[in-house]
Symmetry: C2
Subunit: 238 residues, 2 copies
DNA sequence: CGGCTCCTTGAGGTTAATCAATCCTGGTGG
DNA sequence: CCACCAGGATTGATTAACCTCAAGGAGCCG
């Protein structure tokens, strides 16, 4: 039956997520029952700041960005969300979305209505602890973002590059000189990256050029290599 | 019995808090049982960034600041906490504190150990929903802080002043001209306020002087009055 | 080929941090 | 009572960061 196959897909997506990855089969089943699958093309708006809050989302595949529109037209990117992560959790207990979300690629995602989810949480304390953990992680991350914004652009960029290598990073270490080199790929356009770093493309370009000139990184299109990890870490500390 | 009086005090403090204000008597009782009352003088460190995370805190009276120390010695204030609010919730599921907390006045606070609290939450789904709500509010607030930091200093100051009047604000509206005037008092030294706004005392001083010269606010020591609400709101939008 | 978007590079201007001097205000001790 | 000092707050001058505006490339698709 196709329904069986469909729920199998949903279950798998849920199990692959950071937030629900370790739930019991029973819990996954209950959760799957309230999820509403969606598919969106690149550049679609998931919700806008000020929209009435009805649901939060699990991103099954693709990538989205969470951002604010400043009055002068600039956009401030708060967060890039990767497959397996959730976004919009903050509206579980708020009445409107505090920011905008737009897809950066073709996406599959699950809409999880707040009322249904809250009812579920009331039945499953374990689920509550889990989402508490997720929100705690978000809080820590936002704390870091705030700290970062008080640093100069080169430090922000250095942190981003180091973080990127650490997570999505090529363990492609070349056991050569000082700590070896790390290879990785920029996941977005430089325009998006600049917004994510709270700066403009021109400044990002200059900063990357500076890093390349001084031999700290090597850059070819989206592929980059950290040649001097120590120097980059020093730069990340203001 | 003194024990009875003591628990009465704790219960009242809990009930006065934003987070636990609407719990049932039974829930308050269980919570009170795991709270550890503390009294601290001005300028005391509650915890430091990197400390192993064992508890979060409810501030019963006084005021504390949450801040990060930047490598160059500057301090970045993330948040000022008032009586009745909680702080450190983010460590409920993290293993170390992500920032420092220091008292700005004499404080009474309650240490709430994470393990005991988590056990309590597992028993009381309602409590879980409640703290979820609190963390959602925190998330929204941090979102705002990030957005603010991308604005120029005058806009940040304008938002702070408007927000202050709206919350702690004198409803002392003088029904005179454009929307009337609002009177309020700066709750901290200008040094602390500058840190809270992510700037330095010199710049704050200049910006306040500028606002005063242009007749938007009147300032006398800590007492200030918003003379032109509309102008300040315009300034808050970059 | 022309138009497009994305990225880079250059020149100039603006914001705000830094450095430094002065002015209060309150407290202390002669 | 007053000279003195310490800390916070202000003001001025200088400097640095980075945004803005403007002008090219380089790849891509009609």
């Amino acid at each position: 039956m196709s329904a069986g196959i469909l729920t199998r897909v949903i279950d798998d997506d849920l199990r692959r997520s950071t937030l629900f990855g370790t739930l019991t089969d029973d819990q996954i089943g209950k959760l799957a029952a309230i999820c509403e699958p969606q598919s969106l093309p690149t550049g679609a708006r998931v919700f806008a700041q000020g929209d009435p809050a009805g649901a939060f989302y699990l991103l099954a595949s693709g990538a989205v960005k969470v951002f604010k529109l400043l009055r002068d037209g600039r956009t401030a990117t708060l967060r890039h969300v990767d497959a397996g992560e959730t976004f919009g959790e903050s509206v579980l207990f708020a009445d409107a979305y505090p920011s905008n979300v737009e897809t950066m690629e073709e996406c599959r995602l699950y809409r999880i209505p707040t009322t249904a989810f809250r009812a579920l949480v009331a039945d499953e304390p374990d689920l509550a602890l889990r989402i508490l953990g997720s929100m705690a992680r978000l809080l820590v991350m936002l704390n870091q973002r705030i700290e970062e914004l008080l640093l100069p652009v080169p430090a922000r960029l250095a942190r981003y590059l180091l973080d990127l290598c650490a997570r999505r990073g090529g363990p492609t270490t070349d056991g050569a000189a000082t700590g070896g080199t790390l290879v990785c790929y920029l996941p977005t356009s430089k325009r998006e990256l600049a917004a994510r770093l709270g700066t403009v493309p021109e400044t990002l370009s200059r900063t990357l050029a500076q890093l390349t000139r001084s031999g700290v990184i090597a850059l070819d299109e989206a592929r980059f290599e950290i040649l001097d990890v120590a120097a980059l870490e020093r730069m990340a500390q203001r």
